[in-house]
């Protein structure tokens, strides 16, 4: 078994595009759940709208990168408004059921052949990143970063996606420390108390839902821009559950948490994949096939999520007092 290669693969995930994409989606969830107490189980839907919004605007409307980014974000914001209007006045679990149902309905809608003219059907949309890669300042070539070697496109998408992560993180730090952010935390702890102070709780919750959803749509956009392919099958509810795992791993009511959580999560996935495959290849695990290794990884993700919530619900960085999962 080549431990050097396993190490390099694992370390490569530290700056991976998917790591950044999940970090963005989890930052959006941190806004929803960590700072406002909203149970959003449809983050896959927000990310999907970002991804399809970008791809649709770039391919079918012929918009440039800025317009496409904007279109994806607007789609997610509208989705948040539609979901929030009926549910934000109800108990928390209504939002959970409505968001997961709406995200799943979107997934069915994107995958059907009926609207393939807009969505590409089950084949999805591809080759929509021309304008995005047109902005690439890195000359063509291979770049050796010590542990991994990347092409100029791979460097560019990493720079943009991690730049977005940094931008969103700073934005959230500023927002959550503002009076607005403190009101949100107040809503999370005791909605009635905040209401009795004369605040319009519904409007605050709605702002949080829209903002977190738009951040999630950015995650969806960088996710599909890396390979320039966007398929409906990416946006199943497992995407949402993995985002939750990432968020809870780092700590829900923190800003560093989702980022570190995402890095640790993907390094864990890559390490178990490479390590178990290595073991299978040298014949140490005769009862497993390579395909089953991928399945075992997801089994471990589920186990991880359970144990995390049971034994360390505050994650790596969270403060246990701040997050009692009220409900």
């Amino acid at each position: 078994m080549d431990f050097g290669q396993i190490f390099n693969l694992t370390a490569g995930e530290l700056i991976g595009v998917f790591t950044a994409a999940y970090a963005l989606c989890a930052l959006g969830l941190a806004m929803h759940f960590g700072f406002t107490g909203l149970l959003n189980f449809g983050q896959a839907g927000f990310a999907a709208l970002g991804a399809y919004g970008y791809a649709f605007a770039a391919l079918k409307l012929g918009w440039n990168m800025w317009g496409s980014f904007g279109f994806g974000m607007v789609c997610a914001a509208v989705f948040a408004l539609i979901l929030g209007l009926p549910t934000l006045r109800l108990r928390a679990d209504y939002l959970a059921i409505v968001t997961i149902a709406a995200a799943q309905a979107l997934y069915f809608f994107f995958g059907t052949e009926k609207y393939a003219a807009f969505t590409g059907g089950s084949n999805g949309l591809s080759e929509f990143g021309g304008d995005f890669y047109g902005y690439n300042p890195f000359p063509v070539g291979r770049y050796d970063l010590g542990i991994i070697t990347l092409s100029e496109k791979e460097i560019w998408i990493r720079v943009v996606s991690w730049g977005l992560v940094a931008f969103v993180a700073v934005l959230l730090v500023i927002l959550t420390r503002s009076p607005w952010g403190r009101t949100l935390k107040g809503i999370r702890e005791d909605e009635d108390a905040v209401r009795s102070l004369g605040k319009n709780v519904f409007v605050y919750k709605m702002q949080s839902l829209v903002l977190g959803g738009v951040i999630g749509s950015l995650g969806g956009m960088v996710f599909v821009l890396s390979s320039q392919t966007n398929q409906a099958s990416t946006w199943v509810s497992n995407f949402t559950f993995m985002t939750w795992t990432v968020l809870l791993l780092g700590g829900a009511a923190t800003i560093l948490g989702p980022i570190v959580g995402s890095a640790v999560f993907f390094m864990f996935l890559m390490f178990t994949q490479a390590f178990l495959e290595g073991l299978v290849n040298i014949g140490a695990l005769p009862f497993l096939s390579i395909a089953q290794v991928g399945q075992i990884r997801y089994l471990l993700v589920g186990l991880f999520l359970m144990l995390l919530v049971i034994f360390r619900p505050q994650g790596f960085f969270g403060n246990k007092k701040e997050l009692q999962f009220n409900g």
Binding site: L90, W244, L305
Partner: protein
Amino acid sequence: MFLPKHTLGRGLAFVFATLAIAASALTISAPASAAGHPVAKSQSAPVVLAGDSSDPSTWEYSIGGALKLNGKPVKGVTIIATNGKFSAKSVSDVGGKWLIAVPEAAIYKVSIDKATLPSGMAVANPEMEADLTAFSFAPVLFKFAGQTVQTVSFGDQLVGRLFSGLNFGLLLAIASIGISLIFGTTGLSNFAHGEMVTLGALMMWLLHASMGWPVILAGLVAVLVTGAFGWVQDAALWRPLRKRRMGLNQMMIVSIGFSIVVRYVYLLLFDGDTKDIAGGGNIIKFGPVSTTDLTLWGMLISVVALGGVALFLTRTRIGKATRAVSDNAALASATGIDVERIIRIVWVTAAALTGLAGVLYGLELQANWLTGFDILLLLFASVTLGGLGTALGATVGALIIGMVVEVSSLFIPNELRYAAALVILIVILIWRPQGVLGKKQRLG
């Protein structure tokens, strides 16, 4: 009130040990199932044109039909099935029959090669679709021009769909009453509930289709196994968590993790293919409705089970205690009801009912590792639609969802019928958030 952590650890270990034992038992018996695919292999082998390099003889899915003009077979006509890059063809034999094996569950475009038709013949519908997403075999019938094409009136179609919706709704109802009972007594929104449907369906496949047990015995054992799974889950996982006074949202996320674990255990044990239980049954027609005796038996069993639950909840002491715990657990406890015992009974009952839904679902439709997860959101939709935590509400909600799913496919593409149910859920929540039969004070 804190339980030492190792107790919970032991509980978890117990769950996984049980799964592991079940696993080893299953892997021994599994290979027997490899035989017995219902599609005849004797026909002329289809030619794969492009798109998949794996061995066609291992493919699970097929599309077929017979070409007949006024009752006489038409031979030597080429039929082509395509899906994305994949395409394969077959030529009709002396009996007019043709069969194309395809690699995956998808919707295929099936077309007839007009150049190979006998001269003077034309086809009324040269482009057809074959939907293999729910079944492993899809029949495609080409009609020759001049032949009278039987059309079904909209009213008849609607009646047929309503009947299917009633059947599907009853299946959903027995599973969603389980969710509703558990939610009512413990407050848990159990995302691992679908896995109990899957267990029922997979056990049915294993015992009936693979090991050849008679239907009734296999169904009973499958229901008992699922009930036992409910008991083990409660004893090893949920009860310790309740003792730790874990928050409900936190428990909900634990149930998501548990559902992922169980699903991938199923995948490792049973593989990802769709199992054909081949319940079959004899076709029965009354009016515009065409169904099978198997489906009718299934519906009868569902109705009896639902009636049993209603009697249990309203007439028996334990049932009344269950409703008391649902209303107010602390008050129920103060009147001398053993709340933990009631919850245990609820878990076993709910799991067994859900297993029954899985058995019927497997027999009438299909079974694979995602069977329950696929309908989980429909179950939640049923429970929410009827009103969270009321058993009767869950039944009414399930019947509505079942009908919406089936009837909607008259108007929108088949793949979107589940989406229609979810959209209906959202719309009804806007209009009447407490659900059709829910109480307003639960909205909080």
